[in-house]
């Protein structure tokens, strides 16, 4: 296609500002506000406990502290969350903290140092509960329930003893006849794969500024969001105000990779700005960002794959258990994205999968580049490599032999017609890397 600009070398439109330092990221806007107040968040001292008492008076006595907010100041608040609203803005008395990132109080002060000093003086009484740090423990009969009012009816049990109280979501695939597929197989390979908590680690952590317009009763928030209108809805819903009262302005964003999909500083800023009618800032440090905001879900993935001696897949079965941490965030979608990618780009005529997202008291997990499919790819493409070696086939040939082509069907039963270019990518990568000669049409 003859084009002038599309597909051509065009310098990025925002790059000039970024190499000169003119680009305004959230923290670069703080100089634009006079008498900006500073917030520090007191977070849970224990990953699973009831908050029984909180005494913020000592914090109020610190010079420079303007106000200290707790859940008691905002009885109207409801939970927030990207898909399921299960995350408290502030943990109230006799409510549970479920991970170390849960917020218990907001200390607002004239200086950051005063806010920090105030935060460290707040006195707490908590009742510690079992800390569930493993999804397998979470699924045992005698395990404590993390979300007391969570209810779920799980359709399929991995084993009859499995307890479902802490299962956030259960998901299934059933394409054609997996039993028949395994019966046809000459070789069956079963392996278990495990992935870790990964931090997105954008160079810029969570930071925000908010101001309140008394006339319009509008709260204006400057903070990065990967989805402005959804963040706006999540804030408004939790605060019980209409969306038009929450205005988010997007500064330049210092990386995200999924970490800036969830609410972070936003609601705390909005509350403080509205109550105090002054501009406020809330700037996380790296540690706070890592502990309080989402991670990539660790997954335990069990693949059982049937293959014919000619190297054609006949059946693929996947079980996956995913640690979603203390709150749902993107979990219910991540688990499904992983599931629908369980065979990768390979045609498996018979597929079954059962995938679970499970609550624990770990830092909650959410979106990160690949959204569940990254973990699954490690597992399915390792599995393909294992099988190729067992069959004595060249791994590239084996992939080529099973890669999708127009007319193939995915585990979700979708017939692929447009843009099925996987074989071309294998052939090209092979050519580029001078991979051993092989059969590109295998």
């Amino acid at each position: 296609m003859g084009t002038r600009f599309v597909g051509k070398k065009v310098n990025k439109v925002d790059a000039r500002q970024k190499v000169t330092g003119e680009a305004k990221y959230t923290e670069d806007l703080v100089n634009d506000f006079a008498d900006l107040l500073h917030i520090r968040v007191l977070r849970a001292p224990h990953p699973h406990a009831y908050l029984r008492e909180i005494n913020v008076e000592p914090a109020r006595e610190v010079a420079g502290v303007v106000e200290v907010f707790t859940a008691a100041d905002f009885p109207e608040l409801t939970e927030f969350g990207l898909i399921i609203k299960d995350q408290p803005v502030l943990v109230g008395i006799d409510q549970k903290m479920r991970y170390l990132g849960d917020a218990l109080a907001l200390v607002v002060a004239e200086t950051d140092a005063a806010a920090l000093r105030g935060r460290d003086r707040i006195e707490l009484e908590i009742e510690e509960l079992e800390v569930v740090d493993n999804p397998l423990r979470s699924m045992e009969q005698d395990c404590i329930q993390i979300h007391e009012d969570h209810e779920i009816e799980v359709t399929h049990y991995l084993d009859p003893e499995m307890c479902c109280d802490n299962i956030l979501s259960d998901n299934y695939l059933d394409k054609a006849d997996v039993k028949k597929g395994f019966a046809e197989a000459d070789l069956i390979v079963e392996r278990e794969y495990q992935t870790q908590f990964v931090e997105q680690l954008p160079l810029q952590v969570e930071k925000g500024i908010a101001d309140y317009d008394e006339e319009s009763e509008e709260i204006i928030i400057w903070a990065a969001s990967q989805w402005l209108h959804d963040t706006q809805a999540d804030i408004a819903q939790a605060m019980g105000v209409t969306k038009d009262k929450i205005r988010i302005k997007q500064p330049v964003i210092g990386g995200a990779f999924g970490k800036k999909e969830d609410i972070s500083v936003h609601i705390h800023l909005a509350l403080a700005a509205r109550e105090l009618k002054r501009p406020v800032q809330l700037i996380y440090n790296r540690e706070e960002s890592m502990i309080a905001q989402s991670k990539r879900h660790p997954q335990i993935i069990r693949h059982k794959t049937g293959v014919s001696s000619e190297g054609k897949l006949t059946a693929w079965q996947t079980e996956m258990i995913m640690d979603t941490g203390a709150y749902a965030s993107s979990g219910p979608a991540v688990v499904r994205n992983a599931m629908f990618h369980c065979t990768g780009p390979y045609q498996a005529p018979n597929v079954r999968a059962a995938c679970y997202a499970v609550y624990t008291n770990n830092t909650y997990c959410g979106a990160m580049r690949g959204f569940g499919a990254t973990q699954m790819a490690f597992a399915y493409d390792s599995q393909m490599d294992v099988i190729a070696r067992e069959l004595g086939m060249d791994p590239a040939d084996f992939r080529m032999r099973n890669a999708y082509q127009p007319g193939s069907t995915t585990p979700g039963g979708e017939k692929l017609e447009l843009g099925v270019n996987v074989r071309e990518t294998i052939a090209e990568a092979r050519r580029l890397s001078s991979w051993r000669e092989g059969d590109n049409n295998a």
Binding site: P47, Q196, H229, D230, E428, W435
Partner: protein, 321 residues
Amino acid sequence: MATIMFGFGYGEGFPDHSIASVEPVGENRILIRTSAADVGQGIQTVAVQIASEVLKLDPEYFEIVEGDTHTTQNAGSSSATRQTYFTGQAVKEAAEDLLGNIYHHASQEFTTNHPEMAIKDGRIFSHVNSEDEMTIWELRDRLADRGIELKGRGTFFPRTYKPDPETGQSERVYVGYSYHTQVVEVVVDTVTGQVTVEKAYSAIDAGKAINPAGVEGQVEGGTAQGLGMALMEEQVIEKGRTLNPDMSRYLVPTALDVPEVETVIVENEDTDGPFGAKGIGEPAMIATAPAIINAIYDAIGVRFYRLPVTPEKIKAALEQN
């Protein structure tokens, strides 16, 4: 080697769309309105290139509105590898809508019809009568006098279908799929257990690369993140407490840890996206971890099933053999 696929967009019947508008502003500027977040991936540049292409006008003329819930409409998230496809197409449709409106109104000014007209570098002119010429902004002003707003709007709203809850079957789970094959060369130091990824070769299926350097940048950056996941990154959480909440203990790759990546872009221009483009942001990183793990097997004959494969794990495995 690893080969992966990625279904982009939210999929599964979840409403997924992007709204954009394009309008002439000021003396000689074109403003693109979208709330799509540019997290660094370059959606703003992609949007400008697409609008430039449609309006036959240099990118220098364009600006993008600052993201603001109150002055832009929903573009969906910068996630799910969706912005080039969704917002790219919404901007394309908005630019085409503006172009259509320009032709419509200019043809009335020129008293000629569209096929006899053209637009280039901001000037609208007639092939029939060389005196019939005006700029987009002059046209905008003339229309404003008559109370008509010159603007283009575009919404892209492709459909997917909710899978059956028991079987997961659906006629369309995702709006489209991108593919990526990566081959990596690794060296395993059997003395220290350290793995060096010396080189990576990528073939990524982009449909059509709107900004080829941007696609390469995604693959190179994705490779670095995939390498981190394969070899060094892990937030260690024990009993709910993070043991390494800083960048000296949570390790991401430095410039010395990351290989040179050679990328070839497979372009078949075969999607419903703008100019046949697909999304590649996530698929750009996904292949690397399995490619490295498979290459380590190739090098030392040890298969690793748990990430990350740190020097300790390599050393322990070699010790056992």
